[in-house]
Symmetry: C2
Subunit: 548 residues, 2 copies
Amino acid sequence: MNLLGRSIVGASDAPLNGTVFHAFNPVDGARLEPAFSAATPQESDSAVRLAADAFSAFSRIPGRERAVLLRSIAAGLERNAENLVSRAMLETALPKARLEGEVLRTSNQLKLFAEVLEEGSWVGARIDRADPNRKPAPKPDIRSMLRPLGPVVVFGASNFPLAFSVAGGDTASALAAGNPVIVKAHPAHPGVSELAARVIQQSVRECGLPEGVFSLLFDNGTQAGVALVRHSLVKAVGFTGSHAAGRALMDIAASRPDPIPFFGELGSTNPVFILPGALRERWEALASGLHGSFTLGAGQFCTKPGMVFVPEAPQAGSFAAELRRLTSASPQFHLLTAGIRKAYSSATAQRAAHQGIQSKAEYTVAHPKETQERQNGDGHDRGNDEQGFSVQAMFFETDIETFLKNSDFAAEVFGPATLLVHRASGKAALEIAEKLEGHLTATIHGTEEDLKENAALVAALEAKAGRLIFNGFPTGVEVCHAMVHGGPYPATTDGRSTSVGSQAIFRFTRPVCYQGFPEQSLPPELQDTNPLSILRMIDGKTTREAIK
Amino acid sequence: MNLLGRSIVGASDAPLNGTVFHAFNPVDGARLEPAFSAATPQESDSAVRLAADAFSAFSRIPGRERAVLLRSIAAGLERNAENLVSRAMLETALPKARLEGEVLRTSNQLKLFAEVLEEGSWVGARIDRADPNRKPAPKPDIRSMLRPLGPVVVFGASNFPLAFSVAGGDTASALAAGNPVIVKAHPAHPGVSELAARVIQQSVRECGLPEGVFSLLFDNGTQAGVALVRHSLVKAVGFTGSHAAGRALMDIAASRPDPIPFFGELGSTNPVFILPGALRERWEALASGLHGSFTLGAGQFCTKPGMVFVPEAPQAGSFAAELRRLTSASPQFHLLTAGIRKAYSSATAQRAAHQGIQSKAEYTVAHPKETQERQNGDGHDRGNDEQGFSVQAMFFETDIETFLKNSDFAAEVFGPATLLVHRASGKAALEIAEKLEGHLTATIHGTEEDLKENAALVAALEAKAGRLIFNGFPTGVEVCHAMVHGGPYPATTDGRSTSVGSQAIFRFTRPVCYQGFPEQSLPPELQDTNPLSILRMIDGKTTREAIK
């Protein structure tokens, strides 16, 4: 594993002339080699210019050829899985099995988009044929399809070093649609970012594509990212990260002389509503499932269930006690960065000290003692904490009245913590649902009887989330055609889209129509003969037939 | 025709307690009765609250029932066509035949969306079936479809008192998708706005729908519009109008605590490229067609061709001379408002006086003398101009060198004026195309040979416009399934959408997915039995078949 620590600008490696930074091992806080050189403004500019140069050619090659690129990247990731996983383990402390799964998820994502391109109908071709005899005016021939936007900037996420990072979903969907991509690597895992980027760079070269199709820029500050979002040749942005960073970048995108689409996934508390029948029938399984879900990946999933509403019922106490027991018995977790650990410690300490939680004798804050002791530790993002970025899981309890009075209880706490809200069913649950901000997911546990009785709750939640889950847990986002990983603001900056699943390709496209063009000057997707045999809407009817 | 001059808040008429304003007759500048009462902040707030209350019910009724509403509105408009046309003639001075056509266009738009709802497949239903035996983890059942956003605010346009106004495309598409609508009427034609709104109000009542499905607010200032875009319960905005107003509202939408989608159509200069073969073969027909297109509707179309590029060729002089002749022979035109006339007079005077046009002896500014004399006239938006809002058509000429040096030559001049740019072919045309900002349309006139030789020009234009036209004129926007009336900023605020044609429905929707829900709790579109017989993507394959 030979890491250069240099940004990748098209086919070239950037010189080592930026300020340098390192990754840290979350287990012991140790600095990892090599040093990574932050991209200079000139390097960011060059990457965008190369991307803009590549756009015309890349956007016009047949979808099947872009599929070849995606499959080549997928194969490259699988070939390099061992290197990717070992470096990712060092940089993230995520378990080996999880990271091995993430490599496969990442390559499968690329293959899913390749399939979409090979099938070809995703462009949504529509043809309205001419009618020269129509009165009062002849009807022109109009044909439309989706076309790519131009250079897309992707910000890698901290919590998925592969699947939401350099070769992750945003990159895969942007490339699939025909957009060159410039990735700003997340500074917490630059090594695995470089390894993935080398795979893409090699695939671009082997496919004979213009070098500007892909670049990777390093930076552990904000300079490179801001410059990219401001760059006049950048046409869209994909981002996964914190609300503060995402909103700042979104505001920059919106205040450009020419605003551009900004697809940011900013986080979510993912409410879970447990209805009376479910609590009665399977409180023990629910407690165990919920504990598994909120501690999975050290609670660093955007779909982590962060607030759980239970009705007043005899089993509510047992359910809470079981969650308390499981939380106290949880192993130590390592968070991704010193900054995340600091934020987690501070948010959980604040919550533990909160009047609305502490004042109720019957509610317990479940966490081992040592967590408290560590809360005043260093925590600056320097990685010099001898014990690494370790924390304990925490479980908080409150009741509906207190919850409704404290809007901060609905805020996301990134890490292995959750909040149980007692006496929250029926009208109270509905009131909560109606007051919710946007979330990525909303979950309901119930019997089918419960579900019928709570139709209004389901309707209210539908307006607040991109994915509704019945009798499941929100962690684990299936990569498939129907997945919606999105949701109203502030879960995402554009609730009209998904960042996971094949529908993610639509973000980086725009419809274009061609009026009166001769057959041979139209894209194949819109030619009479339908050479790609795709599904098209012809005069309002969807068919694979050619026009005769 | 009994006009009340009062805003319509759901089923109620607002009291006459706001400040009042009047429409003016563009022909003579005369004030038209009655007075219209501007909506108070309380009325705006009530309209939004009623819309939010109506959302849950309206968003859940079957699409076929929303189609009944749209067909009822269409029938109501047709029944009231005579009243609508006579009031619109008074308020806009547009010709009777054009307005009669616009009523039909408006009702046909509503019927097109009704057809889309009746067919039902527009929701893009996708189903990925569960696989409980999948390793390493079971695959859940995931089903997604498009759902409406919530209350939508629509700003009526000045230049289409019907088709882009109260019952126009934005309203039709927003209602079709299941969103309640609050229209802010354009103050230039409040009378025809009220008449159209009464039709919608009556249809909502007759269909037994919640009153909040539709409201109409009057205001000749900015207060009501700004309050609506800021309102926390408003979830999206449709706007057609000037760049200044559109950008201001867009910035408000983007700077909300929860930013919302803002679909603004802000204007466009609609470049026309005439290639050598076409100029040689049919310069006379091109001149006549172009003159018809840039003066149609007094040049007040967002698709008016405002800059025309011709190659250096023997016929270029004859083509320009013919355009000069036709322009000088044009009748007087009445612009919609005193403000539009003032802006037109000022922009054309500035252009006529421009060094780059005046300094070339061989280029002529074609306009009758009287236009010049009227340029210093009053023009404040008070309508007290004795001669109404009349202007003359104008035709400017310059050459490629001058054009490239003066970026203001590419700006839109709203009204019957255009700019011919000489010696603009081959590399020069390509350079222009690459430098263009976003436009609604880009037109190419050529032989098929021309088209093949200029493939790079077509490719460059495709990145700059929503609609490419070959051998046609951009005015006249066909309402059909394949139409794209959109384009990159600044043509619109969201180049990823269209405001005309059935694809406009997608603007006011978001995808939602349901994981693990039992059949009877799913929307009909996602049930196994496919009770609506719509096209769905099941495990990646598109079919109308039920799941067995």
